[in-house]
Each structure stands twice: as C-alpha cells, then as structure tokens.
C-alpha cells in the first residue's frame, strides 16, 4: 500500500508521455505559439506532481 501513489502517478504520466510524444515527433513543423500551449500543459502538471510526491513520501499517510 505504501507504493500505491506511485502506481497512480505512473498511470497519469503514461498518458502525458503519449501526449507529448505526439507533439515532439513533429516539433519542427509546429508553430512556436502552439508549442507554448504544450509547454503550459507540462507546467500545469508540475503542481500536482509536486503535491503527489509530497503526499507519497509522507509515511504517515499510508
């Protein structure tokens, strides 16, 4: 049970990985303004990642 949050994070970042692979594959033909949206997408995901890591590392929760 201690490692359950990591499994959840894996499911989320599996999906994220697939999204940004589709973007990175054609990075050179995507205009910069559109690429900024994807970068914003990644930055938005940074906050829950940090919170989830803090929660996962806190042993009292599990």
């Amino acid at each position: 049970m201690q490692y359950y949050p990591y499994l959840l994070m894996f499911v989320v970042f599996d999906v994220v990985g697939m999204f940004i692979f589709a973007w990175g594959m054609s990075f050179s033909i995507i205009p910069t303004s559109d690429s900024l949206m994807v970068v914003l997408f990644l930055v938005l995901l940074g906050a829950p990642l940090g919170y989830a890591l803090r929660m996962a590392l806190n042993r009292e929760n599990w």
């Binding site: 499911v11 989320v12 999906v15 697939m18 999204f19």
Partner: protein, 102 residues
C-alpha cells in the same frame, strides 16, 4: 475488404457485452471492466469513421487520445473508490454497499 458497417457491428457487439456486464454483474471490479469495454467500443467507432471519411480526418484520432486519457483516469479514480469501499465494508459487492439506505 471490411466495410464501415462491419466495424460498426463489431463495436455494437462490444457495447452489448459491456451493457450486459454493467446491468448484471455485482462485483465492482467487473463493472469497471464493463465500463472500459463500452469506452473501447466508442473509440473503435471514432477511428473507423475517421478512416472512412473522404478525405480522412485526423480529428477523429485526436478525440480518441482524449477519450483514452479520460478512461484511464476514470479507472484510476474508480479503483481508488473500490479500495475505500473494501476498507469500509470488507466487500466489493455493489449490492452490499447500502449503508445510505434509510
């Protein structure tokens, strides 16, 4: 060559299997299986229509991206709910989860 109709029929059969599981099964995890099958039936239709359009459209594939992501998240939250239900009730039979009944 398989036609568009044959793909729709396969997808309808998958949907039927999913609906059956959803309405009959009592184990929460099996109900989750059924929901995933229904989502997959929908995805199959999207991809088939995107391919058979003239000219083919990528938008149909992009919506499946979002659909797969949403289904994965639904499974994650659903399984967390099942865990909580098991912890509170020590059973995942949906008919025994009737604590709210007056």
């Amino acid at each position: 060559m398989p036609t568009l109709v044959s793909y729709i029929i396969v997808s309808a059969a998958l949907l039927g299997i999913g609906i059956y599981g959803l309405s009959v099964k009592r184990n929460a995890i099996r109900i989750l299986f059924a929901v995933e099958l229904i989502v997959n039936a929908a995805n199959l239709n999207f991809i088939a229509f995107a391919r058979f359009m003239n000219p083919p459209r990528v938008s149909g594939q992009v919506i499946v991206f979002y659909s797969i992501a949403a289904a994965a998240m639904e499974a994650a939250v659903g399984l967390a709910l099942i865990l909580v239900a098991f912890r509170l009730n020590s059973s995942i039979d949906v008919r025994k989860l009737n604590k709210l009944k007056g």
